[in-house]
Structure formats: C-alpha cells, structure tokens
C-alpha cells in the first residue's frame, strides 16, 4: 500500500514537473516545439519583392520588359527596399553607383558562362561611366531615351 502511494506521488510529481518544463506545443508536429515554426515565419522581410515594386513603378517595369534586363529583379541592383515599400515618402532608396553595379555582373571572368555578356571595363569604355551609353533598365545602345 505504502509503495503504491509513493509510486503515485512520484508519478504525479513527474507529470507536474513535465507539464511546467515541456512547452505546450512540443510534439505537435514531431519531436520539437511546434510554435517555433510560427515564430520563425513571423520575422520581418527586408526585400520587398519585385511584385511590390511594380505596383508603383509600372513605368520602369514597362521599360525593363523591352530589354535584356527584363528578368533582373529590382532589388538585385537597388538592394533591399521593404522599408521604402512600407513608407515610400520618408525612406528613399540610396543613389546607385553604376560603375560598381555593372562591373559586378559584367566584368570578364573566365568562370562565367561563355554566353553571358562580359567586358574588361578599362578596355571597353576607356574609363567612361557605363551609364554614359547604356541605360541600366534597358541596356541596349539603341533603346531610346535615358531612364
């Protein structure tokens, strides 16, 4: 009888301690805390996504679609701009340096795919800025007015 009582008290204490120590969502989906999934998903985003940019900048989208940069997303060059998308008035995107950005992709490198357009900047333009001739949103030389 006494042994059974000790066992009962022990079991209850164990369950009580377990109830306090193990989070409620542990084991919901597997051997982990189920709420962790929602917590990780709740993190704010830094890149707004091109769909968000295009809701306001449809003129740029139109221009881009005609050129070779049609599939280059806005934030590939302009950087993370979710804050600008949330508050377009007070958060303005930084001015971009064409020389750095263009070279990052188009500077010749033997490991780049052969069909990808590459130049040795010094030989190609003799030090002139890329956007003297090419417009970043539609880079072909004959594609009209600067944007």
């Amino acid at each position: 009888m006494r042994l059974a009582a000790v066992f009962l008290v022990g079991t209850l204490l164990f369950l009580l301690a377990r109830g306090f120590l193990v989070p409620r969502s542990f084991g919901q989906y597997g051997h982990y805390r189920g709420n962790a999934i929602a917590e990780i998903a709740a993190r704010p985003v830094a890149f707004a996504g091109h769909q968000t940019c295009e809701t306001c900048h449809s003129d740029v989208l139109e221009l881009k679609q005609k050129g070779r940069h049609a599939r280059v997303n806005c934030e590939a060059c302009h950087g993370a701009l979710a804050k600008h998308a949330e508050d377009p008035v007070s958060v303005k995107p930084a001015k971009l340096q064409a020389a750095v950005l263009c070279a990052r992709c188009h500077e010749a490198n033997i490991a780049k795919p052969k069909q990808f357009p590459q130049v040795v900047p010094a030989e190609h333009s003799g030090g002139a800025a890329c956007d003297m001739c090419h417009r970043p949103h539609s880079p072909a030389l004959d594609s009209g007015k600067r944007k």
């Binding site: 059974a4 066992f7 009962l8 079991t11 209850l12 369950l15 109830g19 409620r24 969502s25 542990f26 084991g27 919901q28 989906y29 597997g30 051997h31 982990y32 805390r33 189920g34 709420n35 962790a36 999934i37 929602a38 917590e39 990780i40 998903a41 709740a42 993190r43 704010p44 985003v45 830094a46 890149f47 996504g49 091109h50 599939r71 280059v72 997303n73 934030e75 590939a76 060059c77 950087g79 993370a80 990052r104 992709c105 500077e107 010749a108 490198n109 033997i110 490991a111 780049k112 795919p113 990808f116 040795v120």
Partner: protein, 243 residues
C-alpha cells in the same frame, strides 16, 4: 462512478496526457498558409551562375548573418585537364563581393552556389539531442533558437558544411530557405536578387510549379548523392568534380 485507488492510479496519467494534447493548439505561420500544402526545395542552375555574389549579400541583409559566416555562398572551381578529382576551389569571403578576374586561363572554370540542401533524411536533425532542429511539415530544415544548446553536433553532422555557430548567440544557424518569406508568398532573398535566374525556389507539391517540367527535361544532380540525404536542392549542369 465509484473510483477506487487502483482506478485513480490509472486515470491520472491518462488525464494528464489528454490535457496536454488539448493545450497543444497553435496558430499557423501565416493566416492563409497551409503547412501540408507545400514541399519546398530549390533549383540551382550552375550554367547560369555568374558569381556576382548577389545571393550572398542578399542573404546577409535579409537574415542578419554576421560577417565571415554564410548561410549561402558561391564557390569557384578550376580544373586542369582530366584531373577532375583534384579541383582548385576558391570562395573569397563566400563570394560576397564577387570573384577577382584572376590570371587563370584554360582548363574548366565555373561557379557553384551552395546552401542548406533541406534534406528529407537530414543528418543534422537526427543528431540533435534536444529537438531544437527539425524538418517542418512543408519540408524545410529549421532551428528553434530558444531550444538550441549550441552543442555543435549538427554542425559536424551536416555533410555539406551548411551550419555554423553564431558568434554572439552561441546557437546553431543555417539557411531557413527564407521561411519568413516563403510563408508570405514571396521567394527567398537569394532568388529575388539573383540577376540570371540561376536560383529558383521550388514547391514540389504545387503541380503548376515549373520545377516539374525542368526536372523532367534536364540532367539533374544533387550534391553528395551517396550520402542518401534525399537533398531537395537540385543542380542543373553540375560537374562531377563538385563535392
């Protein structure tokens, strides 16, 4: 009902277990997001990668990755002649600032972007002693930062070297496949910023996802298939020298 001591002894633990299950309900990640309707992976087209490092920088910005640590990185391979078992590989600062043109000529040269392979049979989740890392019902390997002890078992277990210990938090970190973005209907930061489309997020449960057509019509490889990790990062045009 006449409850005897013996009956009470049986009932109490059962009631405790039942109560725990009642309490286990939790809201989903996003209101319209259903965990069971997705199975995430990624397509990496090596033939399109230009080594610009946009993905590495975007990942760092999106996920506050500390300097010198990488959730994704780009490697440059250089092979001379037929010596494909001895490639020369470099990845200066994870390829974050691109790759210097260098004076190498000849041989075979290409870039390989790498990230967590979000394995179905992930060795890293199997070794965790506290249940801090896991595969979600939608196929993403995540880390519960509140549960991780920083014991480093998972860092050693990953065959792809995708995990690190955060220098300040002292917990394991890795690519989350931008879980906070994909559950909101966005693509990952690396895919969003890749200028050539070398990376494509893929939902293997979505019959309309172009991944299915791509997998059917291309020669696809995963990294270290002999590890039988059932990786979900699919590489197109991957050279046999890549490890």
């Amino acid at each position: 009902m006449n409850i005897t001591r013996r009956r009470l002894l049986v009932l109490l633990p059962a009631a405790a277990i039942a109560w725990k299950h009642i309490l286990a309900g939790t809201p989903e990640a996003s209101p319209n997001y259903k965990l069971t309707e997705h199975w995430w992976g990624m397509l990496v087209d090596v033939t399109k990668c230009i080594g610009c490092g946009n993905c590495v920088r975007a990942c760092q910005t999106e996920n506050d990755v500390p300097d010198g640590y990488y959730r994704t990185w780009v490697e440059r391979y250089h092979l001379e002649g037929w010596a494909f078992q001895n490639p020369k590989v470099d990845s200066p600062d994870g390829g974050k600032n691109g790759f210097p043109p260098g004076n190498q000529s000849g041989g075979k040269n290409f870039f390989v972007p790498k990230l967590c392979n979000h394995c179905v049979e992930s060795p890293c989740t199997q070794v965790c002693p506290v249940g801090a890392t896991f595969v979600t019902p939608d196929g993403v390997v995540l880390i519960d930062q509140k549960y991780c002890l920083g014991c480093r078992y998972c860092v050693q277990a990953c065959p792809y070297g995708c995990r690190f210990i955060h220098p300040q938090k002292e917990t394991a970190e890795k690519c989350t496949l931008c879980y906070h973005r994909i559950t909101k209907g966005l693509t990952t930061a690396c895919c969003e910023s890749c200028p050539t489309g070398a990376r494509q997020l893929a939902d293997l449960k979505d019959p309309k996802d172009p991944i299915h057509e791509f997998l059917r019509t291309h020669s696809i490889q995963v990294l270290k298939p002999y590890m039988a990790t059932n990786s979900k990062v699919f590489y197109n045009g991957l050279d046999g020298s890549v490890r």
